[in-house]
Assembly symmetry: none
Homo-oligomer: 522 residues x 2
């Protein structure tokens, strides 16, 4: 089975993605660590960045598992193959494999390419022969294959036949517009192989996700005997994207039971997925199949007690095999069992302390009824449990705070916060400015605490989310704030709830600093 | 075909989603506008919020297309069905339909439920009979059906048989762990119906997305003859989520050619999808099949000219039928064309005013680069266009404002806003309190304007949403505020963006009042 990744070529067509050459090299290294067989790096000649990528790849890129592939198209109509500059650009990359597209839908040949059916077949034949003669392995992408085959199966078959006749190693059937369903893919492959008289193992599959079925369509092709699958990391690609290569590979390996990655590679999946998201500058999808942070997260209280006993009954695969892990969410639906389980995950054993477990459960339920939510705020939850266990005390007591936001006559908007606190018996007043009310309070509080807790300087607030809980009272609604804080080693999330957004933020802020201090052990 | 939505029940299990009762009512109205046949509203008795939802739904919710469904479980083991409080809670909702789950995997019966196979069958029989005797339509969710059927097909079949024997209208096969592939779904359905001797049209399907195949699995079931599909808006749900009901319905209607929604409903899909995302406070997925903003966006330079001539060759369906539109990225013309189109939608003809269209396009582009978004803020967009047309002037000019939030020594949190404005030549200073900084500013501004614009008293802010756009600078991030305002006749949404949440809110607030005044014509 050939695992062919096109993150750097077709995946780079995604709205919102723009890789530098260095990005592309980094992505290629990651894909190689994931163990794919082929990495399509780009379209040399057509995109200057891709030409540069292949040049630098020759010097800098050492791949352990994958072969690099240059992408392109058949020669232009009416041009000799050796004189087509884009064909030459592919050849010049010196990659051992080339993959180029041909039109296989007669309507595209006539209306978009504006050439004859015969010339298009000659273009396929000439270009495949040229690369074979030059010692390259050739994969031919039949663009718009499935639409073309449904419209005119004879012509689409001729294109595939021309490619095989000229020595192509694989003919890749592309659902370019992404409109197929799995049963349609299976039927077309059965029909095509009967017409061609070839084994489906010589075919490849390339699916777009416009019906939400790209992964399933790819798997349907594999079940029909196809032995070459194309996809992109996290399904990045034009419109709704391509088949997600992570889900495709995990399904082939874990569901169809065929080992297609080198040993030890499947466990790299979560790491590689998130690292590529980082490079693409796209927030990882929490709910992505197999690799999402919530892919194995259980919320329903009814399951929690059973999950504790028998996790295999509630996970379709063991999360560890793809480098993920199981997460238990603390929510209003949770009973005591999931609170105990969650605490154990955080290293706090409540099993021997039933009165603490009961009191934490009551507190969580009451607070969640008021709008608090601990499912994304592990640090606030941990503080609550450690507080109930008597392990944590607050590093300071608040006397009062005040924050002022002014839009001045000159148009400047300024925020100023003042806090009055007691720290180890000392009364401290501090004032600071910020670019918003919460930032100003954060600065003022850190200033006030800095003498006693200099380690607070290393903490940084990295994310701030606000959610209004009750939509029917306008600005008088209940506000929930989630704060993400980091100390470079780790990241934690805290929560605050109040009808006043500033007070809600204050709660989350105090938890964030308290948690940070509990980690650094003064 | 029954289209059964469980956004408010199973979809509410999604990590990061927490609906208020008002949210749930709003989502139910939207789903009804989309034309689903059944809306599963929640689990009465188990969740206080859901009990409250059904109570308020009886009084407030008028549904045009959908029937409301209460969810629950079979009676507990060893308890008489009439005495099971959760069964009674379902009955008390008075919904015409109930849908409850039963264990159909023998391992779950024995290890999680800890009862006998026989008692589990009796629980199914008793509970179905009870609701049928009480005049309710019954759908039975067979939890973990596919895993159970693969492990012990005889027992899973018995559970379905018991449900039908007691009068269930549909037995819904659930892929609770989400580990199935389409071909496995088809095979299990074929095998089950042969064993049961019933038509597959009496079965339902409920898929989770853990293999990335939930939509395809659902479609495979429909192709196997199933006539009841469950899904959630945007695929929200636990772990990787449920089958996205939008993709499922679009595939059934546009790919399988079966009309399953009332006339005019499919075109509501994009609007309903985005509105539910707003309520869930989850950024809409740009790349979501059918409904994503980029679902029909073409980037590839090679296609652009051909697409213009022959769009049908490059779109798997016409985007208009699902309420979406085709976007060609990076072409300036597309921007202006869609602004003209949008303006026409609002009754403003820019076709004869190319300089105005160009200036609005430039402003929108620049502001969107800064983080503004007019997609959900029609009123702010209309003000922008009417401003460019010279039709609207601001009702006042701001000199300055100031807002103070204090957490006092006694624990009270108070907010006070002061605005200094000029209205029709008069300088006015007004101060007001509020339960948060934005509410205080809103009150102060209305007080200042009330003498000249008494009609402002009838406006009410009905929703307030905050989204942080840039996650990397903590509380210094850019903040986008959406305000919803109503004058009882209509509702409008305005937007404000600034690094300071108060200033962002101020922009949205000023737009909200300006728009309200432009409607009442002083």
């Amino acid at each position: 089975m050939q695992i062919f990744d096109t993150t750097l070529r077709d995946g780079a067509q995604s709205e919102g993605i723009s890789y530098s050459v260095a990005d592309k090299l980094a992505v290629a290294r990651l894909l190689d660590e994931f163990g794919v067989g082929f990495i399509e790096g780009g379209w040399p000649g057509a995109m200057p960045k891709d030409t540069e990528f292949f040049r630098r790849a020759r010097e800098e890129l050492e791949l352990k598992h994958a072969k690099l592939v240059a992408f392109g198209s058949t020669r232009k109509a009416g041009v000799h193959v050796e004189e087509d500059p884009l064909v030459r650009a592919m050849l010049d990359t010196l990659t051992p494999v080339v993959c180029f597209f041909a039109k296989s839908d007669i309507r595209h040949v006539e209306r978009a390419l504006r050439t004859t059916p015969e010339e298009n077949l000659a273009m396929v034949h000439d270009t495949v022969s040229f690369f074979v003669a030059n010692g390259r392995r050739v994969f031919l992408d039949c663009e718009h294959f499935f639409d073309g085959f449904r419209y005119d199966p004879d012509y689409a078959t001729e294109v595939a036949r021309a490619a095989f006749g000229a020595g192509a190693e694989r003919v890749v059937l592309c659902d370019t517009n992404g409109g197929m369903l799995p049963s349609w893919i299976s039927a077309a492959i059965g029909d095509l192989t009967a017409r061609l008289g070839v084994s489906p193992s010589l075919l490849g599959i390339h699916c777009q996700n416009d019906t939400g079925c790209a992964v399933a369509n790819t798997i349907a092709a594999v079940e029909a005997g196809v032995e070459h699958v194309q996809g992109t990391a996290n399904g990045y690609g034009e419109r709704p994207g391509n088949a997600d290569i992570f889900a495709v590979v995990a399904n082939i390996q874990l569901k169809l039971g065929r080992t297609v990655l080198p040993d030890g590679c499947l466990e790299q999946m979560v790491r590689v997925s998130h690292a590529i998201a980082e490079i693409a500058n796209i927030a990882p999808d929490t709910h992505q199949a197999y690799v999402g942070a919530a892919a194995f997260a259980h919320k329903a209280g009814i399951h929690a007690s059973a999950i504790k006993v028998d996790p295999v009954l509630y996970n379709h695969v063991d999360p560890i095999v793809v480098g993920n892990d199981m997460k238990i969410l603390v929510t209003e639906m949770a009973g005591r069992a999931s609170i105990e389980l969650k605490s154990r995950e955080l290293g706090l054993d409540l099993a021997g302390r039933p009165e603490v477990a009961a009191s934490v459960t009551d507190q969580v339920k009451q607070r969640e009824a008021e709008g608090w939510s601990y499912e994304a705020a592990d640090a606030s939850f941990e503080l609550l449990v450690r507080g109930a266990l008597g392990e944590i005390t607050s590093p300071f007591t608040l006397e009062s705070y005040r924050v002022i936001v002014e839009h001045r006559e000159d148009g400047a908007v300024v925020s100023e916060g003042t806090v009055k606190v007691r720290v180890r018996g000392e009364r401290i007043i501090a004032t600071a400015e910020g670019n918003g009310p919460v930032n100003a309070l954060d600065e003022a509080l850190r200033t006030a605490l800095s003498k006693h807790f200099p380690q607070l300087a290393s903490l940084e607030l990295t994310d701030y989310k606000v959610r209004i809980l009750e939509g029917s009272h306008g600005t008088g609604a209940i506000t929930r704030v989630l704060l993400e804080t980091t100390d470079d080693l780790t990241t934690w999330v805290t929560v605050g709830v109040h009808e006043n957004v500033v007070e809600a933020s204050w709660h989350a802020l105090v938890d964030a600093l308290t948690y940070g201090l509990s980690r650094t052990k003064t």
